[in-house]
């Protein structure tokens, strides 16, 4: 809906038909979601869009100028365009979903319309059930994730420093790496039951290798010229690790953590689908057994959205870290 308001505003300025477009979109938006957003966009256009409209022929950089004079607090035209572009597909999909439902193309029992899914989300939000399942899944994934990081990062450092250890562990590690974690679920359930233990094990298995391998890669890709320099200033191995190896491999480590988190999340939901009494994966399975497709959709959307949010957060963190460490340019 953010997208709609942006697009409407942009369109509204250069062409007088902009308002017509927005009102048309507004009237067609019956869902509480899309409708509200479009309408707010329309209001903005009407009240603020007009003055810059008159000046446009005299302004050479009209997009930017219109933005600032229109008083829309915010990003420049370029960024606006990127946001709009990124939001285009989800919005179109939503619209198509809604329209297909309305035109009775989709079977409402198999694919309930967006409004119904929203109602189901609202209901499970009110009952606290959504929050409970989400919290349980998140708690599992964070516990597993930190456990994995605590295992994989020191092991990566150890293998970097000890070639003998690397040779010793290469075969078993390769064996575990190549085996899909989901293939181990039956065994894990037999060994650890369907409690938290088996779920933690799945997460660790799924996220260990991206974290571990990226960390090793980061360490190995440290500029050997800097390590030589460290040698000429008599730096101890300890200092060399903290001051040279670690900062230089940090971006790679963070990339590994980011990929590992995505893997944990996916593997956990899989594990919860197979054997669990709570969590988002269980919630989906439970809803399916009760033929509550609306709740299945709620589960899927929450899983996807949370995964996306955490990934975006980690990716921003990685970019910030690179800037903070001045790693963009090397010399």
């Amino acid at each position: 809906m953010d997208f709609f308001s942006h697009r409407v505003r942009k369109k509204a300025r250069p062409t007088p038909s902009g308002r017509a477009l927005c009102s048309a979109a507004g009237s067609s938006g019956a869902g509480p979601d899309g409708g509200a957003g479009v309408r707010s966009g329309g209001v903005k256009t009407g009240s603020r869009g007009l003055p810059p409209l008159n000046r446009q022929p005299f302004s050479s950089r009209r997009g930017e100028k219109a933005d600032s004079e229109g008083g829309s607090a915010g990003p420049g035209a370029g960024r606006l365009k990127n946001v709009a572009l990124a939001a285009l597909f989800p919005c179109c999909a939503l619209l198509a979903w809604w329209l297909l439902g309305r035109w009775h193309v989709l079977n409402p029992y198999l694919t309930p319309p967006p409004g119904e899914v929203l109602d189901a989300a609202y209901a499970s939000l009110l009952s606290g059930e959504l929050a409970r399942h989400t919290c349980i899944s998140l708690a599992r994934v964070f516990a597993g994730f930190f456990l994995t990081a605590a295992l994989a990062l020191p092991l990566a450092a150890a293998l970097y420093f000890s070639p003998a250890m690397e040779r010793f562990l290469r075969v078993p590690l390769e064996f575990v790496r190549i085996t899909p974690p989901l293939a181990l679920i039956p065994l894990l359930i037999l060994w650890l039951g369907i409690g938290e233990g088996s779920k933690l094990a799945i997460i660790v298995l799924a996220s260990f290798f991206p974290i571990f391998l990226n960390a090793i890669d980061g360490l190995k890709n440290t500029d050997p010229r800097l390590l030589e320099m460290a040698e000429t200033i008599d730096l101890t191995p300890w200092d060399t690790f903290w001051r040279v190896l670690l900062p230089s491999s940090l971006p790679s480590v963070i990339t590994g953590l980011r990929i590992g988190f995505g893997y944990s999340w996916r593997a956990l939901i899989g594990a919860e689908l197979i054997a669990a009494a709570a969590g988002l994966g269980y919630m989906i399975l439970d809803a399916e057994e009760l033929a509550r497709t609306d709740r299945v959709f709620v589960g899927i959307l929450v899983i996807g959205a949370l995964g996306y949010l955490f990934d975006a957060g980690l990716s921003r963190f990685a970019a910030w870290m690179s800037r903070r460490l001045h790693l963009a340019k090397g010399r």
Binding site: I233, D239, H326, K329, R331
Partner: protein, 264 residues
């Protein structure tokens, strides 16, 4: 202070399927406290020689060793710069090394880069030593800058400051001013000559600028194809000036030696 003794040093590299004799039985001795320039065509083995002296490379045969000797008379000791002697009786000089590239840590400020180089020294006033070294190379105001905020020349000066702040007794410099503009180069040459006369240290300096070698060094070693082909004392009085007749004739003489060697 440490003198350097290189004896029978040889090193062969494999590069692209064929062998390269980077060093071919190199022998020379550098008196403690002297300033020696090493000149020669690129690829003749200068950097390889320095890497062996700095202990970054294992020789195929021969060795580079250090020896402790009496201080140069008149030099200011000020309690720093003494080589340590380990259990096996080998002298380990405090090294100041300047590579062809600055090799600064991008994630530390210039000041932190220098402080890191002092971490394993016994120096008392580290912040003071860092400030002094930065001032000497004209980077007094850039201690808090990050390396990626410096120009190439400034980064190289920061690397010089990092080598100097350690109060080294052996300073190895690999084409230290090659990347600098001509004016900065003259300025830093003068500064280096001044630092060397006020503090005793042995300096080995690779340069492709014969004038720079003549203006700075007591002695010039000419290398060609992995071997020392000429060894010339420069006994011009200090401070030296560009354009002096004695300076110019020495410069021309050395240039001729190098050019002759390439024809052979």
């Amino acid at each position: 202070m440490a003198g350097v003794r290189v004896s029978g040093l040889s090193k062969r590299y494999r590069a692209g399927g064929r062998g390269v004799q980077a060093l071919d039985n190199v022998n020379f001795e550098v008196e403690s406290g002297s300033f020696v320039a090493v000149v020669g065509y690129s690829g003749c083995g200068k950097t390889t020689l320095f890497r062996h002296i700095a202990g970054l490379e294992r020789p195929d045969s021969g060795s580079a060793e250090f020896f402790e000797s009496a201080d140069r008379p008149g030099g200011d000791r000020s309690g720093v710069g003494r080589s340590s002697v380990d259990q096996s009786g080998l002298v380990r000089p405090r090294l100041g090394m300047m590579f062809q590239e600055p090799r600064l840590l991008n994630w530390l400020t210039v000041r932190e880069n220098l402080l890191l180089a002092l971490r394993r020294t016994t120096l008392e006033d580290r912040e003071g030593a860092v400030r002094e070294a930065l001032a000497q190379v004209g980077l007094g105001d850039f201690g808090e800058a990050y390396p990626d905020q410096l120009s190439g020349g400034m980064a190289q000066r920061a690397a010089l400051a990092r080598a100097l702040c350690r109060r080294p007794d052996l300073l190895l410099m690999d084409e230290p001013f090659g990347a600098l503009d001509a004016l900065t180069r003259l300025q830093l040459q003068a500064e280096l000559a001044r630092i060397w006369t006020t503090r005793p240290m042995t300096v080995l300096c690779i340069t492709h600028d014969i004038g720079e070698a003549v203006i700075l060094a007591d002695r010039v070693l000419v290398m060609n194809a992995g071997a020392i082909v000429d060894d010339r004392a420069i006994d011009l009085p200090r401070p030296r000036r560009w354009g002096q007749p004695a300076f110019e004739s020495l410069r021309k003489e050395l240039l001729d030696i190098i050019l002759d060697n390439n024809i052979n």
